[in-house]
């Protein structure tokens, strides 16, 4: 596997939603890279813009959502100026997504196999029926489902199997990159652990690049080499996973890590971050975390901190403390 060849490079990406009350700045100046065969974790609370970033990458933002500026360089090509038709050719083959909510992502009135077949047929013209069937069997086997189950309807699958089938479907056109949006939520711990293990295996076996989106830092820690922590539409800390978890720099990251007590170790009193996430139509001036930050200074309310390295290599934080 070639290390350090960048598959996806997102540069200064901003995506806003238009509402009657004004533009919701859901993602602002988001910059990150994903290397070949590596997983990047996008972590943050609900409403921090992580799903907006994922949808921008595929250009499937819901109505009212628009990419305002920035570049999405995938495989050496900027996706932002591409037309819808050209974009279609890159979805699923280039970047594929597993949406959150495995329980409801399948159409209940079609057989699971037929739904995977649809994905293959739309993206590759002129494949024979026998070929499609063989591919489906192989895909299901890859994710650990008995190939004969392709003839079942989604309701005949358990929650964990649906999640696996959904991953199989995302892999239907041999994508280079897989985005998994909250892959563990709504699943029980044991099934969640099975799903994470599957994703890790797939990454190693197929050399997939991945973006894992989750509010649960433990899930990111289990699967990703790199992490970007988002808060109120911005990346506040970005870099190597080990370095971020061992030595979190941004006060928000520090708070978030403390809010996730490890099951290992002594019992501790839980800590939380006081306050609530801000309104993104009128975000706080300068550093968006300043109203909740325990170390807030005057400068935090005036100048926007830049996401830069502070000492450690491959570890960037956007904070005036450093």
């Amino acid at each position: 596997m070639t290390a350090n060849s960048t598959v996806l490079s997102v540069q200064d990406l901003s995506a806003y939603y238009y509402t009657l009350n004004g533009w919701v700045r859901a993602a602002e100046s988001v910059t990150f890279d994903v290397e070949m065969g590596q997983a990047m974790g996008l972590a943050g609370e609900s409403g921090c813009g992580k799903t907006t970033v994922a949808m921008s990458l595929l250009k499937i933002l819901p109505r009212g959502g628009r990419i305002r500026k920035g570049k999405i360089i995938f495989d050496g090509e900027d996706l932002v100026p591409l037309s819808e038709n050209e974009m279609r050719k890159r979805r699923w083959k280039g970047i594929s997504i597993v949406f959150q909510g495995a329980m409801s992502a399948f159409n209940p009135v079609y057989k699971v196999g037929d739904q995977i077949a649809e994905a293959i047929k739309t993206h590759e013209s002129g494949v024979s029926k026998a070929d499609v069937e063989e591919r489906i069997a192989k895909l299901l086997e890859t994710v650990g489902i008995e190939p004969s189950r392709a003839d079942n309807y989604p309701h005949e699958f358990s929650g964990g199997m649906r999640q696996r089938a959904l991953i199989a479907m995302a892999l239907a056109a041999n994508p280079k990159m897989l985005i998994a949006d909250e892959p563990g939520t709504a699943l029980d711990v044991i099934v969640q652990a099975q799903t994470l293990k599957l994703l890790r295996d797939l990454k190693d076996r197929l050399g997939l690049s991945m973006i894992m989106i989750s509010h649960d830092l433990s899930i990111i820690a289990e699967t990703c080499e790199k992490v970007a922590i988002m808060y109120a539409g911005r990346i506040v800390e970005y870099g190597d996973a080990v370095s971020i978890f061992k030595n979190p720099m941004h006060p928000y990251t520090q708070g978030l890590i403390k809010a996730f007590p490890s099951i290992k170790g002594e019992r501790v009193r839980l800590t939380s971050i006081p306050g609530t996430p801000p309104d993104l139509i009128h975000p706080p001036p300068a550093c968006r975390f300043n109203p909740r930050c325990p170390y807030v200074m005057d400068i935090c309310k005036k100048i926007d901190p830049q996401l830069v390295e502070h000492g450690e290599k491959n570890h960037l934080a956007a904070c005036h403390l450093y």
Partner: protein, 334 residues
């Protein structure tokens, strides 16, 4: 952090069962006479001590929420008894139950749905007081509401009294739900996944608040959760449930650090650890929780258990005390 826990019992649950009859079509009932039941809770016994936080942990479908509902008599159990203040509350009528209701309260999972959107915060918190005629007059009622609100740090309470739930954030709403549960000074509270709908950064403060209120008022909390990592840190004891049965019960630290039951071990091994350098769990048990309509014979976990032997398929293990205050239902230890 775990405060002084009296060994005094608040609740004593004996062989509690709740079966929900399975609804079937007319023709199916012609073909077979057998009654099918979803055995949501199937014979559990435990006690809840005064002033403790008891966590009931397990996967979905393990019966933990049903247990909570039965303890409050929101649903009537199929059999078994629940002793509260020396009375078996499973035998009481609704009328006899009403005075006891002020002693037992619930905090629901979703603060967006558990508060009536058309009532003001004052009315929401005052409702239990009015139902129980617990205040002499309107002024006293308002005092009680204000005190309850300041106890949950919704301050200053005057500012919130006449607001509606939609004007509050998720965390504030859940605080109001907690205030409503504590306003009458109950003896025990069932908290059903009270923080799973909230943002991660504010979960801890709601949980800490509830634990502090419990320690202050020496009420008890039955904390129903699927998150055994959080349960370890906030509860005094943990009971692990699987398919309507109690598999293991004991002190939180013991259960998590030295689990004895293979199911508890599997559950704990599956919890993701927020440390990228820690050893990744490679041995995840396979399969999912079986149907509670036809639970496996013998030990219910034997279909997924790595140590299962013939005895496990035939004989159901009893919940026995293997060391002080540590109960396990597994043939490995008997």
């Amino acid at each position: 952090m775990p405060g002084h826990v009296d060994s005094e019992e608040v609740l004593k649950i004996e062989d509690l069962r709740k079966w929900y009859p399975l609804r079937r079509g007319f023709f199916e009932t012609l073909l077979s006479r057998d009654e099918l039941n979803v055995k949501a809770v199937d014979g559990i016994s435990f006690t809840v001590r005064k002033g403790e936080v008891l966590a009931l942990a397990g996967e979905s479908g393990s019966g933990k929420t049903t247990t909570g509902k039965v303890l409050l008599r929101l649903v009537k159990p199929t059999s078994g008894s629940i002793f509260f203040q020396g009375k078996d509350i499973t035998k009481l009528s609704e009328k006899e139950l009403k005075p006891l209701r002020r002693e037992m309260q619930i905090v629901f999972q979703d603060p967006f749905e558990s508060l009536n959107p058309r009532m003001t915060i004052k009315e929401i918190v005052a409702e239990p007081i009015r139902v129980q005629h617990a205040s002499a007059n309107e002024a006293e009622l308002e005092e009680m509401v204000k005190k309850a609100l300041s106890d949950v740090e919704v301050v200053p309470p005057e500012e919130f009294l006449y607001r509606f739930p939609h004007e509050l954030s998720g965390g504030q709403r859940q605080r109001v739900a907690v205030a409503r549960a504590f306003v009458l000074g109950p003896s025990f509270i069932v908290a059903d996944e009270p923080v799973s709908m909230l943002d991660v950064s504010i979960r801890a403060e709601i949980l800490n608040l509830m634990v502090d209120l419990v320690k202050k008022s020496s009420a008890s909390i039955i904390y129903i959760t699927h998150d055994i990592a959080l349960a370890k840190h906030i509860s005094d004891r943990i009971g692990v449930m699987y398919l309507g049965k109690m598999m293991e019960m004991g002190g939180s630290q013991t259960i998590v650090d030295l689990p004895l039951h293979p199911y508890t071990q599997a559950l704990i091994a599956a919890v993701p650890v927020p440390d990228p350098e820690s050893k990744r769990t490679q041995n995840v048990i396979s399969g999912e929780i079986p149907s509670p309509v036809f639970p496996p014979s013998g030990c219910r976990f034997h279909t997924r258990c790595p140590y299962a032997h013939t005895r496990c398929t035939k004989e159901e293990p009893a919940l026995v005390e293997v060391e002080k205050d540590h109960y396990v239902a597994c043939h490995l230890y008997t």
